[in-house]
Symmetry: C2
Subunit: 227 residues, 2 copies
DNA sequence: GGAACTCCTTGACGTAGGTCAAGTTTGCGC
DNA sequence: GCGCAAACTTGACCTACGTCAAGGAGTTCC
């Protein structure tokens, strides 16, 4: 119950409901655990469920015809995945894979459809969520076409910094650099070089493989600006 | 009434309603005409209305901080614009501008909110629409990062060809090449060169400034494939 | 705790495509 | 129609970034 509770109360899409209603919703949750490295679904799977991340971290990525991977986004606690397949009934053309051991809350199609019928507020919140996602992808698109890699890396680091509130300028990279590179529309080699430059200029400091210490926030912000 | 009727009956988001209900919805429509070249809204405008295109064609684009324009999509009859500002109440950070003289149907925030409360089916359809848009932007993103300009141009022409049903392989470009270039994540110069190459290889034939005759669909399809 | 990964970094190199600049065409307004 | 401005094309050049390759550094799994 604790799990279901968390998924229902902390997730934006059920925010519009009363506590009573949230409890009702929670009854339909089925838990799902995935180990790091395991896929939740792969392109073409006939899934039609809505997934809410309860704990852990996963990546959503698109596989091009040539097998090339493009990371579209990462999701963590409270994020929702699978609306598209859920709404359209189409098979997903993307891939959801656990970056760490993760727990998810699953709603199957029939259950959630009924819930939505009973509680139209859920659609409202889903609209909001989708609309934010859309804005975010559009921002990513504009960034990739109109800034160079240095600017994108800087913006990405700023993003991570602000996500981890508390003025602690140490950020932990959520994925391997290889994957971050595809998310930023570049290659591991180029990403590595740009990070090395930022490090050389004293803007950041690389600590091990996964951690970055931000030394000069202002400089990062200046770099993140187009030209 | 004819206008309102068209906007309401032909648009996906009102598709779930009965004819009776559609008539009710139509009462809240306010018409809006724009001349070619005129903006409907610009970044920062305090609009909070939902717009449905009744006739004509417009472009939605994003202006980067340096003034650089990135066309996000074009919209025509039946397409919906402004959901994001409508849903979030935020000011838009994009720009809607008429490519031809166009007519739109406008819903103000209060009216549509009420309608949605009365007819939850509207949210359902909006979800569907947004979800399709999201998929489309993600596709665009993947295309820009994983194919070269030739492939993107080929894919774009194929897109236009299939949109204009009827096996007539003549497509009319919806925008100036300058703008198409930004949509494809490139520059007018490069687009011009790639079109010239396609023309030289006998795949297409350029007719005037705006029309392209597709001579070899198969070749285009081959080029549109990644590598 | 060591072997064997995989991940990452660095170097050298080639090139697609961006930029700048100068013509050419086209369509629009008057 | 005429003239002008915007749109487009073509050329020359350059550079950011991708690719290929080889050497290190961390992890993970027995």
């Amino acid at each position: 119950m604790a799990k279901g509770d968390l998924c229902v109360t902390r997730v934006p899409i059920f925010q519009g409901l009363t506590h009573q209603q949230q409890l009702h919703v929670a009854e339909f949750i089925r838990p799902l655990s995935v180990r790091r490295g395991e896929p939740v679904y792969t392109p073409g799977d006939s899934v039609s469920r809505l997934l809410v991340v309860h704990s852990g971290q996963l990546k959503v990525s698109h596989l091009a015809a040539n097998g090339q991977e493009q990371v579209l986004r990462t999701v963590t606690e409270g994020d929702v995945v699978g609306e598209r397949a859920f709404l359209s009934g189409h098979r997903p053309n993307d891939l959801l894979l656990a970056l760490e051991d993760s727990q998810m809350c699953v709603f199957n199609h029939a259950d959630l459809s009924n819930l939505i019928r009973d509680y139209p507020e859920i659609s409202q919140q889903m609209l909001q969520t989708l609309s934010d996602r859309l804005a975010s992808v559009e921002r990513q698109l504009v960034a990739i076409t109109s800034s160079d890699v240095t600017a994108r890396v800087a913006a990405y680091l700023l993003d991570l910094t602000s996500a981890g509130r508390g003025r602690i300028p140490t950020v932990r990279l959520p994925m391997a650099k290889k994957e971050i590179a595809t998310y930023l529309g570049t290659t591991p080699e180029t990403l590595s070089r740009r990070l090395a430059e930022l490090s050389a200029s004293g803007t950041i400091q690389l600590q091990g493989r996964r951690d970055v210490l931000v030394l000069d926030l202002d400089a990062l912000e200046r770099l993140a600006m187009p030209q």
